[in-house]
Subunit: 406 residues, 2 copies
């Protein structure tokens, strides 16, 4: 059925699919269409079940079909969701975020992660009256003209006020700040380096502190793009462990366990500007995703979600490390254990990584060879151990074909 | 309760709410928070029920909580919605759009209306290798920097390649085309003039034909922004009655009866470029809104939705016209009857309009004094007649206060 759908898709969808779901971006043999999910498992349209280490590319943080979340959604749904104005959940959720995220004095909601990053940039420019935006080279902040990783259909003017620095490089950062002169509106930065296909890097404390310092001395906004990592590492914001707080932060992905929502939170310095810009969308006020977000965040608080996910991620990492050594592979595992990236040493084109993921896939484990993966609270130790059984067998099969990748 | 929510909102949401839902944009006394909807009725958090002529600002086209739509959503929901890839609904919906919209050879899906308009612009630039974009002065195409009605936080470069013309003015159009020289990527236009607070205008056949002609002679894309009107006027696209077809069209709002979805459809000339640009979002592949769209479009086809809505809108228009004359008011009703705008003559600041809407509101009818309204198939003649009873009384009350507005 997956094959037939792919053939039909090629007729009515350009290139068969768009964005990160384009088939060409996946190792061959990967399913493109899915039919269901439950806990840490997903099922493709051909009925194959997988232990899922992508979590829908981030949104699923409590496992698929989490009962409390779906109950909250259904309760809102059955009364009405998309109405002439917001439901009371918009206030309840804003209050919950303000109480959960120490830097947040207020919140606003959108649909896409890049609705939120774009809003942060607009608020920063409105508040500062300045224009320049500093971004780390290679960082992903969305797929609209000002930040898309592709330049196809994008004009030079879309990037006119963007200056770049290298992640974790304070010298390069200082140089970009100097380039901005007295026109610096914001530094927009991911909580750790999670660019596609390269080793993930935690920020150094020096780097984080330098960013805060430049923003303080210039009046620019420190914008944390917590779209991908938010709520998975620290419910208070992914830089809380550094004790460094952004002025504005963008959230989406895991905020509502798969329901479509994004959020901007900010401190009081940026409240007035946030109230002056005009951003909106037809579906930005619907209640069900907000009800889902309230249930998701409360459940994460109650269960200590980030700690659970971290422990499961560490167990997966330790298991894979032991297995790779035993089977004679050198594995680089980077990023936080909750959002791990798997790479084989000297596997510059990720061919070996793709082959490993294909072996794991055929044994019922869905992983990714170039993008960071995601774990959820549904990834219990039992599920991790089942996945490790499959990866052990995958390493073993890969070892026999090793020559093809050398 | 609405009052208490407003007070709480002011503490945790900048200006109490953002975008078109900002309280300050509504006549005083208007409810800000809602709790439910059913058919043509909505209920605010204080338990007041209204016959609803905003339809959630457009998305509700079959009435709130339409059984077939909600059943399709629940069926998808209960299996899993946000998965590692799309469900089979993405193909089914793309096929349905290609079969329903004559100009459409392919489709792609997003969340917001301006995701779709932005994608159209990017595709047009990618396909033509040109940059200039022609927009009608005052037209609304979204609330991101390149098209937002506000310039707060927006830079000059965000609008660098935009040229303007006056809607329905072929001379002004020709002038803008000439300004673009050999760099014209697209003309982006709404199917009729529905700018905020001014009399709505149907396009002249001459204007529509001129746009098509300029696009044909320059190779630019004709992009129809059918986000607001799509599926309400003509299931084949809002310019089908003119026999003029766009190259790309943007849809959202009514496509899934309130579920969050947007779509770009295009012809084969733009297929390759559409397959080359990079656009994506975390929630763009979820199945439930696509299931809702399939059910919505099929139901509109089966019931002859646009004709039903047009007939109800005409009945409302005729009734209001008769009432206004009888009560001594001069009313201008503009736009298609399915998307009517009510204005009082010589009421330049819309104070009289606001007062009328307030009188109607207190009699259980929710209308808008500056934005076009929306009807749905749930606006049966019975509901229209009930609404007209209330508006008759509203006109009567207004007549007694007339002096205050002269």
């Amino acid at each position: 059925m997956g094959q037939a759908l792919q053939e039909r898709a090629l007729k009515v969808i350009p290139a068969g699919m768009w964005g990160h779901q384009r088939v060409a971006a996946m190792p061959s043999g990967y399913p493109q269409f899915f039919t269901g999910g439950k806990g840490a498992r997903v099922t493709d349209v051909d009925g194959h079940e997988y232990i899922d280490f992508m979590c829908s590319w981030g949104p699923i943080i409590l496992g698929h079909q989490h009962p409390e979340v779906e109950e909250a959604v259904a309760a809102r749904w059955n009364r009405g969701d998309c109405l002439n104005g917001p439901t009371d959940q918009v206030v309840e959720l804003a209050e919950l975020l303000v109480n959960t995220i120490p830097m947040a004095d207020w919140a606003m909601f959108q649909k896409n992660g890049c609705d939120a990053t774009t809003a942060c940039v607009t608020i920063a420019r409105a508040a500062t009256g300045k224009r320049k935006l500093l971004l780390a080279r290679g960082a992903y902040h969305g797929a609209v003209p000002w930040c898309s990783p592709s330049l196809v259909g994008v004009t030079a003017e879309d990037r006119a006020h963007i200056l770049s620095f290298d992640y974790n490089n304070t010298e390069s950062l200082a140089h970009a700040v100097a380039q901005a002169g007295d026109d610096l509106a914001a530094i927009l930065v991911a909580p750790f380096r999670h660019d596609l296909g390269i080793r993930q890097e935690e920020p150094t404390s020096e780097f984080v502190t330098a960013i805060r310092g430049h923003c303080d001395s210039t009046g620019a906004a420190l914008v944390l793009d917590d779209v991908r990592a938010g709520f998975r590492l620290d419910l208070g914001g992914s830089w809380e462990p550094f004790g460094v707080r952004p002025d504005l932060a963008a959230y989406s992905k895991a905020i509502a366990n798969g329901h479509p929502l994004a959020a901007v939170v900010g401190n009081d310095r940026f409240r007035e500007a946030a109230g002056q810009i005009f951003i909106t969308g037809s579906f930005w006020y619907t209640g069900a995703p907000m009800a889902a977000a309230i249930a998701t965040i409360r459940e994460l608080q109650k269960s200590g979600g980030p700690e659970l996910i971290q422990a499961s991620g560490q167990r997966l990492r330790d298991g894979l490390q032991e297995q790779s050594l035993r089977h004679g592979f050198e594995l680089t595992q980077s990023g936080p254990p909750a959002m791990p990236l798997l790479q084989f040493s000297r596997d510059h084109d990720a061919r070996l990584g793709a082959a490993f993921c294909q072996e794991a896939l055929s044994r019922g484990v869905y992983m990714h060879h170039r993008h960071n993966m995601f774990l959820s609270t549904a990834h219990t130790f039992e599920e991790i151990d089942k996945a490790l059984e499959a990866t052990d067998s995958a390493f073993s099969a890969l070892a026999k074909k090793r020559k093809a990748y050398e």
